[in-house]
């Protein structure tokens, strides 16, 4: 399981199950082997990938599936078709792996994965670094992204989990670096603005290293109330909580 989202408006936990192509919704206080209260899964649903985000205002769930973004009704249960699909050559969606939705400013941020730098077999993905694409929340079909953050200055190799912070129009991403390097140089937690476009560096970053003790940031969650950034680190097999008042 490579994502988890807490919907504070409805007090629900939403997770993807990629091996069963399902989106599960649990009670916020679910515990133990408690079952989900809703399951989106079936032939109409199709493949749902390994990450998602929830828009609790417009009641939608957004799922990246490599070459597309699928949007489902949040309250759907059973075999449900997406209500919108962003897909096509103009979208630049390739290996779209992560997503974050801003229902206030109506933005979707999408993170692209990459095998760039891998020691594995040479693949098409290994030729191109990852990126952050920004779309409008209601986009549908073969639309161009409104911004693309990609390039050497950005430092992006690939993007894992990401969040948005609507009040300041920020994108907060876990950038774990070359995927089969155990402790890759240049991995970081990065913060960009919705206004960024092109090969631009992050506005703020928490780098890996002895000071932060980060090694390979995989996941990120925000706690605005306490001005904290919560990072799950694969190589540490742990969770680190940082005070980062600068971005809140």
């Amino acid at each position: 399981m490579h994502d988890v989202r807490y919907d504070e408006v409805h007090d629900e936990i939403v997770v993807p199950v990629p091996y069963a192509e399902a989106i599960l919704t649990f009670r916020g206080g679910a515990d133990g082997q408690e079952g989900p209260i809703r399951i989106i899964q079936g032939p109409k649903t199709g493949q749902v990938g390994s990450r998602l985000d929830v828009d609790p205002i417009h009641n939608e769930i957004f799922v990246p599936t490599s070459t597309s973004i699928l949007v489902y009704p949040r309250e759907a249960n059973g075999d449900t078709a997406p209500i919108r699909i962003i897909k096509g050559p103009d979208t630049q969606l390739r290996r779209a792996q992560s997503i974050a939705v801003d229902p206030i400013n109506n933005i979707i941020a999408v993170g692209l994965n990459s095998d760039f730098g891998s020691e594995g077999p040479a693949t098409e993905e290994a030729q191109e670094k990852g990126a952050i694409l920004l779309f409008n929340r209601t986009d549908n079909g073969n639309v161009k992204p409104r911004a693309v953050i990609r390039g050497d200055k950005s430092g992006i190799i690939r993007i894992n989990q990401m969040q948005v912070y609507p009040p300041k129009k920020l994108i907060v991403v876990a950038q774990p670096g070359i995927h089969d390097h155990m402790e890759p140089e240049g991995a970081f937690l990065g913060v960009w603005s919705y206004d960024d476009n092109g090969d631009v560096p992050p506005r703020w970053k928490l780098p890996v290293g002895p000071r932060t003790t980060l090694k390979k940031p995989f996941g990120v969650a925000l706690n605005p109330k306490d001005k904290e950034v919560i990072i799950s680190d694969m190589r540490q097999n742990g969770v680190l909580v940082f005070s980062v008042p600068e971005i809140f």
Binding site: D3, P56, Q161, E183, Y194, P207, T212, D233, N237, G238
Partner: protein, 396 residues
């Protein structure tokens, strides 16, 4: 589920509206703050400060075990600290001891071993084969001299996420379950680099659904595969690809199966007690199949000929056993012992193969002080924050 959804509809709406108002109010208040300015209008503000809090398990979490009684080697994989640890199989941690020190540890960024979910000891060379289940795409092989941050003697690229391997020493083949792609792959045992498998079992007819454990009955030429039940129906040209949830199962195939082969039979149903059936081991003389039943903190034993909704003939489970979320097991058929690797407690427990019920192990090898409990964080690919309960959610 329908009852919960139906009854909860009106309260949910009220809750949603109330929450929405609070959320929007918060957002609009802060929105008066200007859009973030690029610091210094140039580069990046690098924030280098220690974390306020750090949640991490300091102890090993055992995910797999292999035993070789000829050499008294006991090899254990640690998915928490990314180690391969070798013990003497006769080790037994005294009750008052802090832990048992391993004879050697292989660990580090040169090893190509990280989230190690399977281990195997070559009965002749005593080389250690390690299977990465996630985060790395390699199966490194280590010599008997390898220690510390050692380079593997050779390594094989394994696309997808494997979970367990079973080896045909006579034919020099390695069988492995690939959970991400619902398939069994068969490689030459000496394969290295990006060599392809010699044979693959995959397709909708196989009923492989998130396969995890694999064991071979060489006497009857059968492959046993344990499945979590997370199914994917491949559409191909005929329809959509989609998912389905099925009950956990054990599917059985001919040893020489290839392609989209139907199972010869399936063990599945509530009487089986299966709940995340993980590593398996087959006892040829006893014709019994041992299953590490992770989510039930138990070991199940089935007859080799079982089929359908069959109850296990023995179940090792309970507080005396010391078993907690066991992904790994290994059999020493020669000495009649069963080794269990638990990820919920930092220990390996050893039982007679005939053990049944809530029984104490013959020996316990601890890698941490008695009473230590594992956090069970493994490859945390994401994190969430429950603002209502002020809790951090960690998917694994």
């Amino acid at each position: 589920m329908r009852r919960v959804f139906g009854c909860g509809k009106i309260p949910w709406l009220q809750l949603a509206l109330a929450g929405l108002i609070v959320w929007l109010a918060q957002a609009s208040l802060i929105q008066t703050d200007a859009t973030a300015q690029r610091p210094n209008n140039t580069g990046t503000v690098v924030i280098e400060r220690p974390p306020l809090r750090f949640i991490k398990d300091p102890n090993p979490a055992f995910s797999a075990v292999a035993v070789d009684s000829d050499s008294n080697m006991l090899v254990v994989a640690d998915e928490n600290l990314f180690q391969i640890m070798e013990y003497d199989r006769r080790d037994s941690t005294p009750a008052r001891a802090t832990l048992t020190e391993p004879k050697r540890v292989i660990s580090g960024t040169n090893t190509k071993a990280e989230m190690i979910c399977g281990v195997y000891i070559d009965p002749k060379t005593k080389e250690i084969y390690a299977l990465n289940g996630d985060t790395q795409s390699w199966m490194p092989v280590f010599s008997t001299d390898a220690r510390g941050n050692a380079n593997p003697s050779r390594y094989l690229n394994i696309p997808g996420h494997p979970f367990q391997m079973a080896v045909d020493e006579e034919k020099q083949l390695i069988y492995m379950s690939i959970q991400s792609d619902n398939k069994i792959e068969v490689y030459r045992k000496q394969a290295s680099g990006v060599e392809k498998p010699v044979r693959t079992i995959e397709g909708n007819d196989t009923q492989l659904e998130d396969p995890h454990g694999i064991a071979i009955d060489f006497k009857n030429n059968l492959i046993y595969v344990s499945n979590f039940g997370n199914g994917r129906v491949e559409g191909g040209r005929t329809g959509p690809t989609y998912g389905k949830f099925d009950a956990p199962s054990i599917t059985v195939y001919p040893l020489n199966a290839s392609g989209n082969t139907k199972p010869l039979r399936i063990i599945e149903g509530p009487a089986t007690l299966m709940n995340w059936p993980s590593h398996m081991a087959f006892h040829e003389d006893r014709q019994e199949l041992f299953v590490a039943n992770d989510a039930d903190s138990s070991i199940l034993v089935f007859r080799a000929t079982d089929q359908g909704n069959a109850a296990p003939i023995r179940v090792i489970k309970g507080p005396k056993t010391g078993i907690k979320h066991p992904p790994g097991i290994a059999l020493d058929a020669k000495l009649g012992e069963l080794y269990v690797a638990s990820i919920g407690v930092p220990s390996v427990t050893v039982f007679p193969v005939t053990a049944n019920g809530d029984v104490a192990p013959l020996r316990v090898i601890r890698s941490a002080p008695a009473g230590a409990v594992g956090l069970m964080i493994g490859n945390p690919g994401a994190v969430g924050y429950d603002s209502k309960r002020q809790q951090i959610l960690v998917p694994n």
